[in-house]
């Protein structure tokens, strides 16, 4: 059923990673991504160990994590091909006009490892954090931007409302589709242009209903005294615990190690 759709890809489990403050996980992912681009040779070992430990700690099955890799497969293939073919250097193989260089192969491997680790690292965050926690973390981390008049609170409110309404609109799409099909609409046959044209009787009612919902929701929010982020308190404010400070410590140590390895040229 559409109602049971879980958004994002949160994997419910009781692990230390799940319990960490979402802000720590957000910063952690960022640090990890940066470290990936610092690595030369031995650094990759450090990155792999770090990632493996995190996966173990998260209690998320490894199969679940690698699911996300399918979506970047094409991107991965393209990067590899381009890196192999267009990096100048010591020639390994030459077939007609195509040359493959040693540097090219090395670069391709490095890039693909980076991409795969990046994907796994970031999905580890979304797997252990609910969408709500993520928006809260974003609001809190982007807080300083308020000083330059970036509507941080509004952005995070929009994101959480979108999360709330996606399943509702999906269900509605399904309903409209069935209603139009009952009247002879055809969403499945024809070429691509024909199919796009056939979507019109689906999209028009969907948009109208979305606007109506938005109007109702705005009214309901105003009726409950919503007047922006000013003077608002939070029911579930984010508070750092001891374990969060410890996690920050680990992150700093990890980052220092990565930079150290880079500086030493290892």
């Amino acid at each position: 059923m559409l109602r049971d759709i879980t958004l994002g890809q949160y994997y419910p489990a009781d692990s230390i990673l799940h319990r960490l403050d979402p802000r720590v996980k957000f910063v952690g992912t960022l640090v990890y991504v940066i470290s990936l681009f610092l690595f030369h040779n031995w650094g990759y070992l450090l990155g792999t160990v770090f990632l493996a430990v995190m996966i173990k700690l998260s209690k998320v099955p490894f199969k679940f994590i690698t699911k996300g890799l399918k979506s970047i497969f094409v991107l991965l293939a393209i990067t590899m091909v381009f890196n192999i073919l267009f990096t100048p250097g010591e020639v390994l193989v030459r077939i007609w006009k195509i040359t493959i260089t040693r540097e090219g192969v090395a670069m391709a491997c490095r890039m693909s490892v980076r991409l795969i680790f990046l994907m796994i690292g970031s999905s580890l965050m979304t797997l252990t954090t609910t969408p709500n926690q993520l928006t809260d973390a974003l609001e809190s981390l982007l807080g300083p931007l308020k000083k330059i008049h970036v509507p941080v609170h509004e952005i995070s409110m929009m994101m959480s409302i979108a999360l709330r309404f996606i399943p509702i609109l999906l269900e509605e799409t399904d309903k409209i589709m069935k209603a139009q099909m009952a009247r002879g609409a055809d969403f499945e046959s024809g070429n691509i242009i024909q199919r796009v044209k056939n979507m019109v009787p689906l999209l028009v009612p969907l948009f109208i209903s979305a606007f109506r919902r938005a109007n109702d929701l705005a009214l309901a929010m105003e009726a409950r005294c919503y007047h922006g982020g000013e003077g608002r308190t939070q029911m579930k404010p984010l508070r750092y615990q001891t374990r969060d400070y410890a996690a920050y410590g680990v992150l700093v140590a990890y980052l220092v190690c990565s930079i150290g390895l880079r500086v030493c040229g290892l």
Binding site: I168, A220, M221, E222, A223, C225, T233, M235
Partner: protein, 295 residues
């Protein structure tokens, strides 16, 4: 100074918590492009008074202006004519708008379109968050109001997985968490099945009886009106009848003229009376009819 306050307090008791005097609201309706917009009166010259702790029902068929009236109580609309007072505050005073909305909460028709949170308890906490209530107090209020509406066991659920009646009860809990003195329900049961309707009504009546919250229930289901202390009937933007349910339902002919149904039992009693059976006027429940017929 002191006497003025005393007077105000005393005045409160006498004058009612919600008062409307000569209330009118008109809006422009745009037909086709290029045409002059047409002035439409949604409500016209409505005067009423509602005492604290009362259970009020507002009846009327579609387009009678009952929803427009409801939105005036909450200052979502401000009158173009006349005045509306909520707890001695005029709804036209902009600085009082938030205070009025805290005093008079509102529950809407569509249960999906008024739930903001992704988790039941977060949604109930939304109102208090906006009021700037401290965190600990928010949790206390959320628990209290979810218990009062019987939804406490669903606190960690996603609202998408609840039934219509349950969603409306969450919405009511969300309003209750703001600790209002009055709650306006704008056809809260129109989109629900009979069971959901009963659930919601039970929750509303409980709040009225146990917590003394003033309830203004807008509806077109006659069965829901029977328990009210006072009924207002609207037609074409005007307040055409008011009184106790018994008074209202004894005028079957007039209600029919307004295209409103009467409860089945009342209608049966009315027809029986017309055909010469000796029955009192304004019978509202099956029990009453049985008693009257047996004596």
């Amino acid at each position: 100074m002191k006497s003025a306050r005393m007077q105000k307090k005393a005045g409160n008791n006498v004058m009612g918590m919600i008062r409307a005097a000569g209330l009118g609201y008109e809006y422009l309706r745009y037909e086709e492009e290029g045409q002059e917009p047409e002035v439409t009166k949604a409500i016209e010259d409505v005067s009423l008074e509602i005492q604290k702790g009362q259970f009020i029902a507002v009846l009327g068929h579609n387009g009678s202006g009952k929803s427009t009236l409801a939105k005036h109580i909450n200052a979502l609309l401000v009158p173009t004519e006349g005045t509306m007072w909520v707890d001695d505050m005029k709804t036209t005073d902009e600085e009082d708008v938030w205070k009025i909305r805290q005093k008079a909460g509102m529950v809407f028709q569509n249960p999906d379109n008024q739930i903001i949170g992704n988790v039941v308890e977060e949604d109930v906490g939304f109102g208090p968050e906006n009021l700037g209530v401290p965190t600990d107090e928010i949790w206390k209020r959320v628990e209290e109001s979810l218990t009062a509406t019987g939804m406490i066991s669903y606190r960690a659920h996603s609202p998408n997985k609840l039934s219509g009646g349950q969603k409306q009860r969450v919405a009511i809990a969300g309003v209750m968490a703001m600790q209002p003195e009055c709650i306006v329900l704008d056809e809260p049961t129109a989109m629900l099945d009979p069971n959901g309707r009963k659930e919601v009504l039970r929750a509303v009546r409980k709040l009225n009886e146990e917590k003394g919250v003033t309830v203004i229930l807008i509806t077109h289901y006659m069965e829901e009106v029977v328990f009210a202390d006072r009924v207002f009937v609207m037609d074409n933007g005007k307040l055409v009848m008011q009184g106790t349910p018994r008074e209202i339902f004894s005028e079957v002919e007039k209600l029919k003229e307004l295209r409103l149904d009467v409860p089945q039992v009342t209608l049966l009693a009315y027809e029986l009376r017309k055909n010469g059976v000796d029955l009192p006027e304004g019978i509202l429940t099956i029990e009453e009819l049985v008693n009257a017929l047996c004596h």
